[in-house]
């Protein structure tokens, strides 16, 4: 099972490039696709989900080019788009039955699978309620269930935790980890903690370009020895922010505790254990500096 994204680019009207020469090679596991808003994540997800065509480059699913045979990937694709639409008059079972039919699943298989999925996302007791009355979190769970209907080998989830409360977010992340197994899961998000908990691999994307593709450990190693914390007076906060790449600032009784990323720490700074958020900020800042130069 292999997904190859080879030099993919996407240009929208007005010569706006959302993605440029983007390459990745994926094997089973969870890929956290991390990037700021407008980085090109959703465009990439749309290309992989066969919603839109790449302007340049190619995507190969188990050796088959998407442009030649999009159904090769569609057969084994589970896709949870960023803004999930539902039919408000249908209940959860009817909606999933409908999508199972669209995906070409046998009805007997689909019924069993829908029962299991509704239990999994814990919507079994509201299975007969119209979706129009569901909350955002509940709709998102229906979205997860529909993405898993055809037991996908490739599961694409685009900003899945948007609109979920913190507890549901944690649960959803755990669910993704449990589901990964022998499939490729692409989790697109701008929330670092979502990726931290689940991803076996991380791809950082910014301004349509791949900034880094590495394991979480490799990314963390990039900022090892660069994370420091020191205390400044409130009045010096702005100056400190301008001088250092800041990944956090916390007000305490003795002043503002600044968490900064630098090779040359200020006097009195204490070394800190690097987090993925530090690595994310560092890589993006590095990339922007490189692009500016």
């Amino acid at each position: 099972m292999e997904l190859i994204i080879d030099q993919v680019g996407k240009c929208y009207r007005g010569n706006v490039w959302a993605l440029r020469e983007f390459s990745l090679q994926l094997r089973p596991g969870v890929l956290g696709l991390l990037g700021p808003n407008g980085a090109g994540k959703t465009t990439l997800m749309s290309i992989l989900a066969t919603i839109t065509r790449a302007t340049q480059g190619r995507v190969l699913w188990n050796g088959t080019d998407l442009a030649h045979d999009p159904n090769a990937i569609r057969r084994t694709l589970g896709y949870l788009p960023q803004d999930l639409g539902v039919y408000p008059h249908l209940n959860a079972v009817e909606f999933l039955e409908y999508l199972a039919a669209v995906k070409g699943l046998d009805s007997a298989v689909a019924h069993r699978r829908i029962d299991e999925l509704l239990n999994l996302v814990n919507l079994a007791d509201v299975r007969k309620r119209p979706l129009g009355g569901f909350s955002g979190g509940m709709k998102q769970r229906v979205g997860i269930a529909q993405a898993l209907l055809n037991d996908p080998e490739l599961l694409i989830v685009d900003e899945p935790t948007a609109g979920l409360d913190p507890e549901e977010r944690v649960r959803f992340r755990n669910l993704l980890s449990e589901l990964s197994g022998e499939r490729i899961v692409i989790l697109s998000t701008h929330i670092v903690s979502d990726v931290e908990a689940t991803a076996t691999d991380i791809a950082l994307i910014s301004r349509g370009a791949l900034v880094a593709h590495a394991s979480p450990e490799q990314l963390l190693r990039k900022v090892e020895g660069k994370v420091w914390e020191y205390v400044v007076a409130s009045s010096e906060l702005n100056v400190a922010k301008q001088r250092y790449l800041t990944s956090g600032a916390m007000r305490r009784s003795d002043g503002v505790h600044m968490r900064v990323l630098t090779d040359q720490p200020p006097a009195g700074a204490q070394p800190m254990i690097a987090t993925l958020e530090d690595a994310y900020l560092f890589c993006l800042s590095d990339h922007r500096a490189g692009a500016a130069a």
Binding site: A49, T50, I51, T52, R53, L66, A67, P70, N71, R74, R75, T76, L77, Y79, P81, L84, G85, V86, Y87, P88, H89, L90, E94, E97, Y98, A101, V102, K103, G104, L105, D106, S107, V109, R112, R113, E116, N119, L120, V121, N122, L123, D125, V126, R129, P130, G132, G133, F134, M138, R141, I144, Q146, L148, D151, E168, R171, F172, N174, L175, E178
Partner: protein, 522 residues
């Protein structure tokens, strides 16, 4: 002063948002086409016993203003009846609802911005009227006052009423959707009927009728009564000189009365406007909340997602266990989707019409019932082809295997099934009587209607176009038995099944191409 500024900003933002959409270009295009049709003498105004006015400024202005008043008060309604809906969809409404803005202020602002859009359409025709006067004028002298005053005093008040009615229909939950779209057509027809019967009407037809007829009577004493706006119909054979309407204070006051009425309608709309309160958005939300126990002391929350490893058990899917012929299953799903959400009384009426078809004693009576039986499911058909866009499920559907070749035909077949079932009584009787001519017409209608719905839905992305066009077509064709428009074949003379089989094939091809254009891959 601050209130005026706020009103101006609201109207301006709404107007700009509309005119910067592609759909506005289509609207302007339609207005230009109307102007072209008049100047190309495809639309006629005939007075008395086959008379038209000499093409001077007054006649051209009146002719085009009448066209604006009549056609834009119908088509324009459907064009602007989405201002509140757009604020809901863009979620701007939620922001507005949290401001101190009064409901009446909002509905008034929406009425004015609706009016601005309609007035822009009228303005396009006003310019075209000038061009027509220049090209077709049969009298040398040009009077801008006589050319444009009919637009100002007849068309614009009509547009004001149309704009306000669009807001009222949007504010009323029952009329917000397809029911309102269909009902408006009949209200519009009734309104035109009033003007013919000599009542002061918003379109201003009566003013032109009286003035033209009085002039004609002086020129040709003993001429017949008559005033008709015809499309491609019998042309006028004689001409007479008409100097235009004398806009007296009394007439102007009567026209101003309609602007006051429009403001009144906008204020009435405020009483029904629920300020984007989601509790009023969906009727089933209340039912769902009741089912969940909300409002009865229960929290209404659901259990969280199961995440313990032991509980995550999904039976692996055997990919070979796919149905050999998945279409019937998909058609059944599409049919259920189509019919889901209809109230119980909808089925009762549909069943009643089927029974009436079965037991009507004569073929004519059965055909009469069939005409109504195929108006009843208009809101069921109107969602085909655009349901995915309306509900935001395109990404799910379009990323499915062979969506274009499976789902689109399934939607169409489901639509045909609705047509066949709702006209089942007629079909059974025709089969029993081996009346092949009726069966042919019955099948042509059953295939044509869903094809039209699908093509319009796919290309427009909205159900409104089919609801409006089909209702008008139904009224002109089957209801009035007009040859060429009668897709049901109500009479042998008006029936033309072969044409509608052919039209269905063209529409299906259009639907396929439209959907294909929206998908990255087939």
């Amino acid at each position: 002063m601050k209130q005026f500024y706020l009103l101006y900003e609201m109207v301006r933002a709404d107007f700009l948002e509309r005119v910067r959409r592609y759909s506005f270009l289509l609207t302007v295009g339609a207005a230009l086409y109307l102007a072209y049709s008049v100047s190309a003498e495809k639309v006629w105004l005939v007075v008395g016993d086959g008379y038209r006015g000499v093409y001077n400024s007054a006649w051209i202005g009146a002719l085009m203003a009448v066209c604006c008043s009549v056609f834009f008060s119908l088509a324009g309604f459907y064009v602007v009846k989405n201002s509140i809906q757009r604020d809901t969809e863009t979620r701007v409404g939620s922001v507005l609802a949290a401001t101190p803005m009064r409901k009446s202020f909002y509905t008034l602002a929406k009425t004015i911005s609706n009016f601005a859009v309609l007035a822009a359409m009228v303005f396009v025709v006003m310019l075209a009227a000038f061009a027509m006067r220049w090209l077709h004028g049969e009298v040398k002298q040009i009077s801008l006052w006589k050319l444009w005053s009919p637009f100002l005093f007849a068309s614009l008040p009509a547009m004001a009423v149309t704009a306000a009615l669009a807001v009222l229909f949007e504010a009323l939950p029952l009329l917000r959707g397809g029911v309102g779209n269909v009902l408006y057509f009949f209200a519009w027809t009734a309104g035109l009927g009033l003007s013919v019967n000599g009542v002061n009407d918003p379109t201003g037809l009566q003013i032109f009728y009286r003035s033209m007829h009085d002039t004609l009577k002086q020129t040709v004493p003993g001429t017949k009564e008559g005033f008709s706006l015809t499309i491609g119909g019998a042309r006028a054979v004689h001409t007479f000189y008409w100097p235009g309407v004398d806009w007296t204070a009394q007439i102007l006051l009567a026209r101003f009365f309609w602007i006051v009425i429009a403001v009144g309608i906008a204020l009435v709309a405020a009483a029904f406007f629920h300020r984007f309160d989601p509790a009023y958005e969906w009727s089933f939300r209340k039912k769902a909340a009741q089912a969940a126990g909300v409002g009865n002391g229960s929290s209404g929350t659901v259990n969280p997602i199961v995440t313990t490893p032991a509980s995550v058990h999904l039976t692996p899917l055997n990919r070979r266990a796919k149905p050999a012929w998945p279409l019937p299953q998909l058609i059944a799903s599409e049919l259920r989707l189509m019919l889901k959400g209809q109230p119980w009384w909808w089925y009762v009426v549909a069943a009643g019409l089927v029974i009436a078809q079965l037991f009507s004693p004569t073929l004519d009576a059965r055909r009469g019932v069939l005409v109504f039986a195929w108006l009843w499911p208009v809101l069921v058909w109107s969602r085909t082809g655009c349901r995915e866009e309306r509900n935001g499920t395109q990404r799910l559907i379009f990323s499915s295997e062979r969506a274009l070749l499976r789902q689109l035909p399934a939607v169409w077949v489901a639509g045909v099934m609705v047509a066949l079932i709702t006209a089942g009584g007629f079909g059974v009787r025709a089969l029993l009587a081996a009346d092949w001519r009726s069966i042919e017409s019955w099948l042509a209608g059953a295939i044509f209607i869903p094809s039209l719905a699908l093509a319009l839905g796919v290309w427009s992305g909205t159900s409104k176009l089919f609801e409006a066009l089909y209702t008008v077509w139904w009224y002109i064709g089957p209801a009035n038995r007009t040859p060429g428009f009668d897709f049901i074949g109500v009479t042998s003379a008006s029936s033309d099944p072969l044409f509608y089989f052919l039209a269905a094939a063209i529409l299906l091809t259009a639907a396929y191409l439209g959907r294909r254009a929206r998908m990255a891959y087939v």
